[in-house]
Symmetry: C2
Subunit: 194 residues, 2 copies
DNA sequence: TGTACATCAGTGAACGCGCGTTCACTGATGTAC
DNA sequence: TGTACATCAGTGAACGCGCGTTCACTGATGTAC
């Protein structure tokens, strides 16, 4: 059936949104196209009208993941520019809530090792999305030059993503809370004092 | 055929060693039992004489991964106790070489997001292996009490694992080198000055 | 305004493949007598 | 010392399932006349 012209873009965006969450929740390999489309009340065949391949979709989903995270965490931070905003961002990033909901949080934290294993084409898209993400957070980052802020961004977010992942990996709740608490303190101390 | 009694343990260890490397290289989902056994010149059926399931093997492999990393990185650091040794460990952990060879390096860095998605039983084993790893590195860690050293350990290694993963994820060689260089500097500054 | 045709998002069967696990079997070594 | 039997690491076919991708088809809407 033919549908109104804006419908295709809508469907495409619905697929990306759902997939982006599923990927962050389950990992790249554990999300299946057919299951994904079924969740959207579509059939798997139509998928290839929107994406070249599963990998292509995965690439899109990384950028989308950053956007979603900004919407979730950025909003509250925006009222406080610079240092205070950064503190808010760090505390939200390393919160018990973000830890408990990988599907709605930072794609780097949720998909770190998956991304590292992707073919170059996907990693190029990841790098672009990460750079774009950085530019949108630049106002919060310590550093006088762009290069310094870039350095802060990569250090802070890779470190926090590592800590968050470790917190997700351990089995004991007390250990998990301790990891998050210590990391909040450490990253606030290290990055909110410039 | 029946084999000499020590043979079974040998085979078990051979499986763990090969699997541990394959897992770190490809991720949990992309390693297949049959392929793994074929690499060892065995057939897949025999696998279940040694392990209850693939998950069971994965659990074993995490502990083995830590051992291997200690053998690789610890040896050079051992001559310098404390601060100087820790600096060596940090520089090796964040080296271009470790970055390029996930299969022979830290299992946390290689499998971070995979571990976070495992069922509780596997995460319990991971946590135990991580604690054991910490105890063996305790002599290098800053902190007066065991709790302080534990805190240092989790902060330092989760942060470094995040940075290493990010370096592996980006596509551009220059960006990768910059991430590693900045991280070496940051973690040496933060942890080798107590 | 009405009619014939083109478009193309979405359908669902099918292809070819790989995977984790089970199971009846093999046969060299260990053990009981 | 010699013989009969038990053991069990390893074999390889089979089971049941899921996956990414392709493709002929459908049919409501858009377009040309």
């Amino acid at each position: 059936m033919r549908y109104p012209p804006e419908r295709k873009q809508e469907t495409r965006q619905r697929i990306i949104q759902k997939a982006s969450r599923r990927f962050r929740e389950k990992g790249e390999k554990r999300v299946a196209i057919a299951g994904l489309m079924r969740e959207l009340k579509l059939t798997h065949g139509g998928f290839y009208r929107h994406f070249k391949s599963k990998q292509d979709l995965f690439g899109e989903c990384l950028a989308r993941g950053f956007e979603e995270t900004r919407e979730r965490f950025g909003r509250k931070a925006v009222k406080d520019a610079g240092r205070a905003g950064l503190r808010t961002i760090i505390e939200m990033y390393l919160s018990a809530e973000h830890c408990a909901k990988p599907s709605q949080g930072c794609p780097v934290a949720a998909l770190m090792s998956d991304i590292a294993r992707q073919p170059r084409a996907v990693r190029v898209r990841f790098e672009n999305a990460a750079h774009d993400h950085m530019r949108r957070l630049e106002g919060f980052l310590p550093g006088k030059t762009e290069a310094e802020r870039r350095r802060s961004f990569f250090l802070l977010f890779s470190g926090m993503a590592g800590a968050l992942n470790l917190a997700r990996a351990v089995a004991d709740d007390e250990t998990r809370r301790a990891i998050l608490r210590d990391a909040r303190q450490f990253y606030v101390n290290s990055f909110c004092k410039w």
